[in-house]
Amino acid sequence: MNWLLAATEPVVRLTPQARIVAAVLAVLFMLLILDLIRRDRLLERYSIVWFVMGLAMLAGAAFPGLLELLARALGVRDVTIALFSVVLIILLALSLNFSVIASRQAKQITRLAQQSAIETIDDPGGSVEAGGQPEAERLEG
């Protein structure tokens, strides 16, 4: 089964320097999220996923074993490639999710605009059933 496993070859790991940079960025990122929530710029609903991403970044920097585990699971020899692939997939899923949300909201906005348009009709008495258009009734009768 050796042919299935890339792990038999030397693993490319993150350098300590890269881990420090990643940890600092993760902490800054989480602080930014907290600040956005504090200033009402981000709904809690949407903040959780980003906060979890920050935590995952921090975990990856603090425990390099996790990333190696990930790389082995994916059958990739280079830890950085495993990292990039996973992050890319997560971002793809997130942006698709946001497109779905945007589509739903666009529909809701259209519906609201239509309702408000119907309410702007100046003279509701003009509809035939309200008798505001005697001409129409005469012709129908």
Binding site: A113, Q114, A117, T120, S127
Partner: protein, 238 residues
């Protein structure tokens, strides 16, 4: 029958008055409603001056959203028959009466006025013509019936069709997709030949520049539409 004629209009201040007067004259029993799709010009004011009621969308939402506003209004207010003509003056209201009569007679749930059902003198730019032929071919294939003018905004419909469109209606690919939607929902769609005039004012949103992209998008939309489940529209309440 209680009839609504609605006129979707976006920046049609120059032509709206004559369209309203034309509709009033030829469909005398109908209530005329202009749906102003967030126009930046005087469309709404001119329409009121001409004596029509105006429903103003707060911002431009696209032709489909404007049509749907008409269907929702017609449903909510118990109209049994609904006709629509474009606000640019290319649809003579005299022709609309033939469409309305067809629906009233119960021959179809949705009747579309077609420029091409017979050969006419109507001349459109080649890019539009090509696009329309392509749409026609695709929609006809998809619906297994001949529909020659898939982008026509002159139609008449009954409550069954109104309720279908009030529930779901494409905002960007309004006319083309709704035909497919109607046929797939089990509605009877009929096309009759009408004479149309060249556009009085304004320009079509399908310009040669973006028509290729528009055609491509519509193809995708129709393809996806073919994959939607076929849900028969319920018989309309009377």
């Amino acid at each position: 029958m209680k009839t609504l004629v609605f006129i979707p209009a976006w920046n049609e201040a120059d032509s709206i008055r004559s369209v309203i007067e034309d509709a009033r004259e030829h469909v005398p029993g109908a209530h005329v409603l202009v749906i102003d799709d967030g126009s930046g010009d005087e469309t709404a004011a001119r329409a009121r001056e001409a004596g029509a009621q105006v429903a103003s969308l707060p911002f431009n939402q696209g032709v489909g959203a404007a049509h749907q506003t008409g269907y929702i209004y017609a449903m909510e207010n118990g109209y049994e028959l609904c006709g629509q003509i474009d606000g640019d003056g290319q649809h003579p209201a005299a022709e609309l009466t033939r469409l309305l009569a067809e629906v009233e007679a119960g021959h179809a749930d949705l009747v579309v006025g077609s420029r091409f059902a017979e050969t006419t003198t109507y001349n459109a730019p080649w890019a539009r013509r090509t696009g329309q032929k392509l749409f026609s071919w695709i929609v006809s294939t998809a619906t297994r019936q001949t529909l020659t003018d898939t982008t026509s905004g002159m139609r008449a419909l009954n409550r069954r069709a109104m309720s279908l469109f009030a529930t779901r209606y494409s905002s960007e690919f309004a006319e083309v997709e709704s035909l497919q939607q109607a046929v797939r929902a089990g509605l009877t769609v009929k096309e009759i030949h009408v004479n149309m005039l060249p556009r009085e004012q304004g320009t079509s949103f399908i310009t040669p520049l973006n028509s290729a992209f528009y055609i491509f998008k519509t193809l995708v939309v129709l393809l996806v539409g073919q994959m939607r489940p076929r849900t028969p529209a319920p018989e309309a309440d009377k």
